[in-house]
């Protein structure tokens, strides 16, 4: 594998450090109530629903694992939690 030029390495490192900082900024900090309500447009609901669907998929996969069943329907969401 060709070694990177020193500048490339520096840029790569800078990128990693920046990425780490941004991950912390976006994910951490004191959480205070009163955050802005995101307007609930149709598409927003879709995103929310998807998370519920995925939760069902996770449950389905766990059942799959324990049942050692070879068949799994990817998009069967199973029972939605209320």
């Amino acid at each position: 594998m060709m070694p990177n030029a020193p500048d490339d390495d520096e840029m790569a490192e800078h990128h990693l450090v920046l990425g780490d900082l941004l991950n912390r900024v976006l994910d951490k900090g004191v959480v205070i109530s009163g955050q802005v309500t995101i307007s609930i447009a149709d598409i927003d609901l879709l995103a929310v629903d998807l998370k519920l669907v995925l939760a069902s998929v996770q449950t389905a996969l766990e059942r799959y694992d324990s049942a050692q069943n070879g068949d799994i329907s990817l998009l069967h969401s199973g029972s939605r939690k209320g």
């Binding site: 990128h15 990693l16 920046l18 990425g19 780490d20 941004l22 991950n23 976006l26 994910d27 959480v31 109530s33 009163g34 955050q35 802005v36 309500t37 995101i38 609930i40 447009a41 149709d42 598409i43 879709l46 995103a47 929310v48 998807l50 998370k51 519920l52 995925l54 939760a55 998929v57 996770q58 996969l61 766990e62 799959y64 694992d65 050692q68 070879g70 799994i72 990817l74 939690k81």
Partner: protein, 132 residues
């Protein structure tokens, strides 16, 4: 570096849908593959899906492909566990592997069709891997 989109929701919204306020990142320990991948997926979902009619296809494509990519990874992970577990016949292993290989190829085609890279899909790649 891939950045996860964050959804900010008020307390009046559905509590199931609200993102967990304390992310579980601090603890490093064994976690089941679906948990980690789904957490990654939840973070990767774009906050705004462009509803502009001209671009709506692309926005939805990104969303769908993101979901499928992560599910595909979960399935590969599960398939290997089954293979290693010794509960599959040679024929089953071959069928399973082929199905996943085809799925992989199909995903590459779809990504090319929509001009989307893994970065566009907010999927993190790297030598330390994602599922654990």
């Amino acid at each position: 570096m891939i950045l996860a989109a964050r959804t900010v929701m008020s307390e009046r919204d559905d509590p199931i849908a609200a993102p967990s306020k304390t992310s579980g990142h601090e603890a490093i320990g064994p976690a089941s593959p679906p948990d980690i991948a789904l957490e990654a997926l939840a973070r990767a979902l774009p906050d705004r899906i462009n509803a502009d009619p001209e671009h709506v296809e692309n926005g939805l494509a990104r969303l769908v492909l993101t979901v499928i990519e992560l599910l595909r990874e979960i399935l590969e992970h599960q398939a290997i566990r089954r293979m290693d577990g010794g509960t599959l016949s040679d024929e089953q292993i071959e069928r399973l592997g082929l199905a996943l290989l085809k799925l992989n190829e199909r995903m590459e085609e779809l990504k090319t069709t929509f001009g989307l890279t893994d970065e566009d899909l907010n999927i993190d790649l790297g030598p330390l891997g994602r599922l654990r």
